[in-house]
Symmetry: C2
DNA sequence: CTTGAACCTCTAGCTGCTAGAGACTTCAGG
DNA sequence: CCTGAAGTCTCTAGCAGCTAGAGGTTCAAG
């Protein structure tokens, strides 16, 4: 049996985070010691490792909740997990594309920085003027 | 003179967001009409466009606050703006690298999905086992 | 003059934690 | 057996960066 601190060390998750996961129902309420301290077994460690790894892959907690409920019923179809993973892949690819565009613009800004005074600083100027944008990706709503 | 709604439309920023920026001191308090409604001039629009564009480039509000205070003193050196932009570039590059690794792992997970039942679903299995990781990038703290 | 959209302030909520207060439990060393 | 430190408990509040809602006022068009 592991105390919450040992569990956290073993899974690479901080103690308050474990309590938070319990609070939002991602982890079941564990046994308690005579002195009311949480005691965890192997299955809790596995579940927490699953959550941690999923978080590292960028899955939001709600997706992890779904994945966990899937893995709690192991005789069902794998298709739902596949869908979640594919959604996540699409989201990751979109983020990469967006960041790559931002990187290009930042690089352009920096190379144009004359190292002079603010008055002729391209960084400030570029940030103030939207029309310099390489690609004008706008967020669809509320734009005239 | 623009009302807050017109300003928001012109800059591509939602009305509550403008009030939020004012609240946290990114935008100065504007004039008011006789009926206590906010009225903005051209400089407010420019400042808001600057903020919006910077946000799109991923600058955190605190960095934007610094950039704005720089641009308020145009006879100073451009070096500080350069540093902020380079920091942001480094952060963007780090995010891209991380996401690219995640993408590879998600793709691997998905191709391994047997489309069978959860019991032999690689997605669930891979997520539960950290040792499958292509690169074991851990967040430095609290890891045994 | 009336309607209805836009505005006002204020508070609370979102995600995914993190930090702190103030009290209790556990364990190792003496 | 006792002490003291480290770990744990619950609870509340805070972070970014907004967003949504309640309940009320103002403005512009018809």
């Amino acid at each position: 049996m592991l105390t919450i601190g040992k569990l956290g060390d073993a899974a690479g998750v901080k103690v308050p985070t474990i309590r938070y996961y319990e609070q939002i129902g991602l982890l079941p309420e564990p046994e308690r010691s005579a002195g009311n301290q949480r005691l965890y077994g192997k299955s809790a460690l596995e579940r927490l490792a699953f959550i941690r790894h999923s978080r590292e892959l960028g899955f939001p907690l709600e997706a992890i909740r779904d994945l966990l409920s899937l893995s709690d019923r192991p005789d069902q179809s794998c298709a739902a997990a596949d869908i979640i993973a594919k959604d996540q892949l699409a989201a990751v690819e979109a983020r990469i594309a967006r960041l790559t565009a931002l990187k290009a613009e930042l690089e352009r800004m920096i190379t144009q920085c004359a190292q002079g005074t603010i008055a002729d600083c391209r960084i400030i100027e570029v940030l103030g003027d939207h029309s310099h944008c390489a690609q004008d990706r706008r967020t669809s709503e509320a734009v005239g």
